[in-house]
Amino acid sequence: MSAPAPSMFTPAAKAMAEKLGLKMGRANLEEFAATLEELAKANPNIIAVTSDSRGSGKLATFAKNLPKQLVEVGIAEQNLVGITAGLAACGKKSFGVSPGCFLTARSLEQIKNDICYSDVPAVLIGISSGTSYGALGTTHHSLHDLAVLRAINNITILVPADNFETREAIRFTVKATKPVFVRFGKAAMFNLHQPETKFAVGQAIQLRDGNDVAFIATGETVIHALLAAGKLAERGLSCRVISMHSIKPLDVEIILKAGRECRAVVTVEEHMVNGGLGEACAAVLLQNGVSKPFRIVGIPDEETVSGAQANIFRHYGISMAGLSETALKLLK
């Protein structure tokens, strides 16, 4: 018998979430699948393309309810992206849905040329991204995707933090006239936003204000930054928390404001520290003459530690305790 996967949240983290009034939602993956199916029922032009990934993409009911709007290509991600591009070039709103690890590595040339360079309004969905597949190991992790796609012209990159951001991101992709990549994981997420929150691509969402430390986080690490801010508040520190759901275009203004107004900046991402959100923020701050104590929290440039996603997060300090510690060290 294998040991059960450890919880992403320690009892102390769960207690803090409760204190902050956060409620657990569902996995962003499930939110994506439900949103896409709802939109596709109203719009027969929406086509999902899968590479034997309808199960892992939670699209089994989509396939059952809308069989004419799903194209199965088999385990062939290069073909998946090319076909997604061809559909988009002929007027379809096509969604290439595949695990982020394969989609953005094996098919990178197809993304670069067939979608971005050819400028077709296709959408790529990296499911179970980051370290979602945990103990399955590096073959199944996508910790490079933000870096490689940031280096390609003509693609919007969205990394939603919770169900609300996921739903809004998918709604955006349906209307987009340019290529979009969205990545998320498969673990259940706390809901972070109030119902009246506005979502706009290129505009990050500030979840909490403060001037001691600014946490600029993306995707499924945002919750950990928010919990850390709650913990640091108990020590009398006020921390700003920003959900940078849009990696490209980046919200430059909110980064500069955070850098100017806070004593230190910590970026957090479920991605290699090379070429992701942290380095993007560092470039923004440095090129605008803003110099503050700064730390990038992510997966370091080493063979990623083995274990479940929760083990990996804690190992690299992507946790309430780890981020609090990083912030305190920076303020010393």
């Binding site: 061809g86 070039a89 040329n113």
Partner: protein
């Protein structure tokens, strides 16, 4: 029922096409010469295929290029772009004078096809991309019950890219009889004979085994190309046309010589090549 669109197909005889081909080959060579770079041998090998496609087969013209009902052509072997540019210019997609700007600073006419150029459907150049894209296009046509056809041109050396075989499975799986893949089978690639670099023969048996309807034709025979391209070979199957061609076709010293894959002619070589093509044109006119 195939929608009839008067998309300006020309009514040229085989001899007219042959005569036009001498002009297009000259333009191709001049384009490579003017750019100081390019892909000569493969352009000359596929030129007759392009000539037939754009003058006899494709429901597309400069006026109807934005019509959703147009036929789609994606040149997977994007490096043979000079020949494609020459044919598109001849068909009026853009002025022939533009050919002088290929590969120039800030020119839209880069060394591989891009959608900045009227008549180009998709940006290609990295090999093994055209066929998957065309499957998406052919699926879209089926979904919309549209009657347009989708064509792609592949190099035989290009077939070493595995993505072609992923696409080969999918096209047959989805019974895409609105899709035609043409293989420019000139048997040479940059390093030498395809059979020596990475043997892919027997090509016809491979594509048949993948579930395609296969036709083998002389890729310089206008009547044979026209017959093969005019309609899908078999209902319920994608069509693969293996067009046997000669790399460097039409210029004696370039024919079947691998180094002319991307060779740029010198002044003397260009003069000789143009002279040979002029002589061929004169002979065709005499025969009339």
């Amino acid at each position: 029922m195939r929608r009839k669109l008067d998309m300006g197909k020309t009514l040229l005889s085989d001899r007219d096409l042959a005569l036009k081909a001498t002009h297009l080959r000259k333009k191709t060579l001049e384009a490579v010469y003017d750019a100081g770079a390019g892909h000569t041998g493969g352009g000359l090998s596929c030129l007759d295929i392009l000539n037939v496609l754009y003058n006899r087969i494709l429901n597309v013209s400069p006026e109807t290029f934005s019509s959703p009902a147009r036929d789609r052509y994606v040149q997977s072997k994007g490096h043979s772009v000079e020949a494609l540019y020459a044919v598109l210019a001849d068909r009026g997609f853009f002025p022939e004078a533009d050919l002088k700007t290929i590969c120039h600073y800030q020119s839209h006419y880069v060394g591989h096809p891009t959608r900045h150029i009227p008549g180009i459907e998709m940006n290609t150049g990295a090999l093994g991309h055209g066929l998957p894209i065309c499957i998406g296009m052919a699926l879209a046509a089926k979904m919309d019950s549209a009657s347009y056809r989708v064509f792609t041109l592949l190099g035989d050396g290009e077939l070493a890219e595995g993505s072609n075989w992923e696409a080969g499975l999918a096209a047959a799986h989805y019974k895409l009889d609105n899709l035609t893949a043409i293989i420019d089978h000139n048997t040479l690639q940059i390093s030498g004979h395809t059979r020596d670099v990475m043997n892919n023969e027997p090509l016809d048996e491979k594509w048949r085994a993948f579930g395609w309807a296969v036709k083998v034709v002389n890729g310089h025979d206008y009547a044979a190309l026209t017959e093969a391209l005019s309609k899908p070979a078999e209902i319920g199957k994608p069509t693969c046309i293996i067009a046997n061609t000669i790399k460097g076709k039409g210029v004696s010293f370039m024919e079947n010589v691998a180094k002319w894959h991307h060779g740029v002619p010198s002044d003397a070589e260009l003069k000789q090549a143009l002279g040979e093509l002029d002589a061929a044109a004169a002979k065709l006119k005499e025969a009339a």
